[in-house]
């Protein structure tokens, strides 16, 4: 598995674990809050239920108190409207809107809420018929064109003889509904065939359920009370918070993955480019100096500190290797005594010049030999011989141009390659060398040293051997002609 995938995988695994834990915590919190929310709503629903039952109890209680009064009984028997009015008005309240005394014919004797309105016939009313038939009625019916919660009860003289009815009613209106849900976050709606009421402006009830009330079926069809949440803002806010958290986590996760991806790519690309340099090096696409140059470029680019340090180290290492390589190459290419190119190097130069000459270039070579060097060695010793070699090499070096390649070919024999030099030019240089050597006075050797030189210039289809052969032939001729001479090929 690649490093990129490893890092990405491990990071995502850890991050996934953290995010999962966070999601679990938030979900747990949400579930707890929702349970608390539902519990609160349940308590509120029960409270509203209780309030509703209290309203019904209040109606029954009022009717019970009034019918227990002997004066009320007398008032009903004698149709004493005024007395019944005076009694009933005392019991009117926010929970009791209407108190009617009705005789057995269904004629209203007195209205507690309206002193001067009585005498109308309500015998056809469902609640009156039910109360006359069943003794009591508790339900919803129309009273004076308003839908009401009604408790109607038959009034009996001495507890036996029916003499009339009492109906205690509470108008079903917005105020009643509002009083039921006061101080809660719930809403209650009343629906019947004639009207739909709601405690608050919110039309829709959330999580609606019917109020559990034991009401007798009245003449008002489809009458029902429904309770539910007035608004689910609280729950929605909770859900929104949860969603926001999840979305935030999701976005953060995606951004993090992208950031990680690009960061890894950037870092790894730098490492990869460094490693590619090394690969190119060992696969010979780059030499050590090019490695150094490439790495230096990398160092100068905007890299991370870590990569820069590695690049710097690699650069220093490549430089050292290059220096060592140069030193080794120098050692392997030069003659220890004369500090001139050795024969191997001269052969490389010669090969190179021949190749260049194929593209139109030209050159000449000088084969140089110190005259009677063996005698110097034999008579004066090797140290003097070495001294003569060393000084002669220096004199020759001083006699040539920059770019000319001078080396020790072997023993007391030297080879000089003269790029872009024809035969005549080569002869001039050869003569210059011969003169300089001859005129020099050695410190450790009292005699004059001379050199013989054979000159050859490049010919088409030359090989190293052919051109060297011609130069060597010319040298041989110079030796045969008395030494201290410059001879050239024909």
């Amino acid at each position: 598995m690649k490093l990129y995938h490893k890092i990405l995988f491990l990071t995502l695994v850890q991050l996934g674990a953290i995010v999962s834990f966070g999601i679990y915590q938030i979900q747990s919190l949400y579930v707890t809050q929702k349970m608390a929310f539902n519990q609160k709503n349940l308590i509120q629903s029960e409270m509203i239920q209780k309030r509703f039952e209290e309203k019904l109890e209040q109606l029954q209680k009022t009717a019970q108190i009034l019918t227990a009064s002997q004066e009320v009984v007398t008032g009903i028997i004698s149709n004493d409207t005024d007395m019944l009015y005076n009694w009933s008005k005392l019991f009117l309240s926010a929970s009791t809107h209407k108190i009617h005394f009705i005789d057995l014919d269904g004629t209203i004797i007195s209205r507690g809420e309206s002193e001067f309105r009585f005498g109308d016939d309500v015998s056809k009313r469902f609640y009156v018929q039910q109360a006359l038939k069943n003794d009591t009625f508790l339900g919803i019916d129309n009273v004076d064109n308003k839908e009401c919660l009604i408790f109607a009860k038959r009034i009996k003289q001495y507890g036996e003889k029916p003499i009339g009815l009492i109906s205690v009613a509470l108008i079903i209106d917005d105020d009643l509904l509002a009083s039921l849900v006061q101080g809660t976050t719930m809403n209650i709606a009343y629906h019947s065939e004639n009207q739909t009421l709601s405690a608050t402006n919110h039309e829709a009830l959330i999580d609606a359920s019917s109020l559990h009330v034991m009401l007798q079926a009245g003449s008002v069809k489809e009458a029902s009370f429904t309770i539910g949440l007035a608004s689910d803002e609280e729950l929605q806010a909770l859900k929104e918070a949860r969603t926001n958290f999840f979305v935030s986590i999701g976005i953060a996760l995606i951004l993090f993955v992208f950031a990680l991806h690009f960061t890894l790519l950037r870092h790894l690309r730098e490492y990869q480019s460094l490693s590619q340099v090394l690969i190119d090096f060992y696969e010979d696409r780059l030499d050590i100096k090019e490695v150094g140059t490439t790495i230096k470029q990398t160092m100068n680019e905007r890299s991370t500190p870590e990569v820069k340090k590695i690049a710097e180290a690699l650069f220093n290492m490549s430089r050292k290797v290059a220096e060592t390589q140069d030193a080794l190459e120098h050692l392997s290419s030069t003659d220890q005594l004369t500090a001139l190119w050795n024969r191997r190097k001269l052969e490389e130069f010669l090969e190179q010049k021949l190749k260049e000459s194929e593209r139109g270039s030209f050159f000449s070579v000088l084969m140089i030999d110190i005259d009677r060097f063996k005698t110097i060695n034999d008579t004066c010793g090797h140290e003097v011989g070495d001294h003569v070699l060393e000084i002669t090499a220096r004199l020759m070096r001083q006699s040539i141009r920059t770019g000319d390649m001078l080396g020790r070919w072997g023993g007391e024999e030297f080879l000089l390659i003269l790029p872009q030099t024809d035969l005549s030019g080569a002869c001039v240089i050869a003569e210059h060398i011969r003169t300089n050597v001859k005129e020099h006075r050695f410190e450790d050797y009292d005699h004059t040293v001379t050199v013989s030189l054979g000159v050859a210039t490049y010919r088409l289809s030359d090989t190293p051997n052919t051109i060297l052969k011609r130069a060597d032939t010319a040298l041989y001729r110079a030796k045969n002609n008395g030494r201290d001479k410059v001879e050239h090929e024909d």
């Binding site: 004698s78 409207t81 005024d82 002193e115 001067f116 309105r117 009585f118």
Partner: protein, 286 residues
């Protein structure tokens, strides 16, 4: 020195004998209105006697009767029927004066009338045409709101509990008017004063189906607590109340009574009413 003490004693004498009298009346109207209407009369009597007159409005006639019998009140304003009944029951009850009113013909008279009234819009022009209607009396103890209307019905051989579909008792005369206007009843009995006030308030939308003979107005009586001399003195004070007295104005302002003060008649002034008591009274549905 002795003379000085005699002078001081004479000056303090009225205060030493100052009494607190309880003056009671029946609830002919809203008790608060009655209290305010009677306040100037109580002040007048208190000022002229140096005694204190405290007004009590009883819950109903029964309480008034009971308290006169119990002697827990000293003076009482009673209606004609109550006076006749009380006098038969308590012979020692002292008559003091009779209430006076300005009649609609401009005379000051100790009489008034009872009317049986309906709404013009119902197109009922005679009592006999009101069969099956809703009817209302004021109170069974009321003279003009029950006794005389019942007499008028009896004279026409009408048992109200059979003739009318429903019979209600509304206690107050004003309430008869309001019930008529609200169409809660079709026919009702009321005093002539109430009728004229209703016409003034609602306009000419009522029809009088029957009118009673003149009825003696209410009487002021004294219980046995009050001496004969004191009763005489109070009766004189009542009779001396001028036309423009604050008490008369208050009666008109708060109760709509066109009061003209009091006149001292004889107890025999109320004798004709005994005939009413002997008349057949339909107490309830047979």
């Amino acid at each position: 020195m002795l003379f000085k003490w005699m002078i001081i004693a004479l000056l303090l004498c009225p205060f030493l004998h100052a009494k607190e009298y309880v003056f009671a009346t029946y609830p002919s109207n809203n008790p608060e209105k009655i209290m305010r209407a009677f306040a100037p009369l109580m002040e007048y009597l208190s000022a002229d006697t140096n005694d204190t007159f405290k007004l009590v409005v009883t819950k109903d006639y029964d309480e008034l009767f009971l308290r006169i019998e119990e002697k827990s009140i000293d003076f009482a304003w009673v209606n004609t029927k109550s006076f006749v009944q009380l006098k038969e029951k308590i012979p020692s009850l002292r008559y003091l004066a009779t209430y006076l009113e300005h009649s609609k013909n401009g005379q000051i008279t100790p009489y008034y009338q009872s009317f049986i009234v309906t709404l013009k819009s119902l197109h009922v022009n005679a009592l006999e045409e009101a069969k099956g209607k809703h009817f209302a009396f004021t109170d069974k103890d009321s003279t003009s709101g029950y006794a005389y209307p019942m007499l008028m019905l009896e004279e026409r051989h009408i048992n109200p509990y059979v003739f009318f579909q429903k019979v209600f008792f509304l206690k107050k005369h004003d309430k008869i008017v309001e019930a008529l206007i609200n169409r809660s009843i079709d026919v009702g009995a009321m005093s002539d004063g109430t009728f004229y006030n209703a016409v003034a308030k609602y306009g000419d939308q009522f029809t009088i189906l029957a009118a009673s003979e003149p009825i003696p107005l209410d009487a002021i009586v004294a219980s046995q607590n009050v001496s004969k001399e004191e009763s005489e003195r109070i009766a004189e004070l009542l009779e001396r109340i001028p036309q423009d007295a604050a008490s008369n104005k208050a009666f008109e302002e708060f109760l709509g009574w066109e009061s003209a003060g009091f006149v001292r008649k004889d107890e025999r002034f109320y004798e004709p009413f005994k005939r009413i008591l002997k008349a057949r009274i339909y107490e309830t549905v047979p």
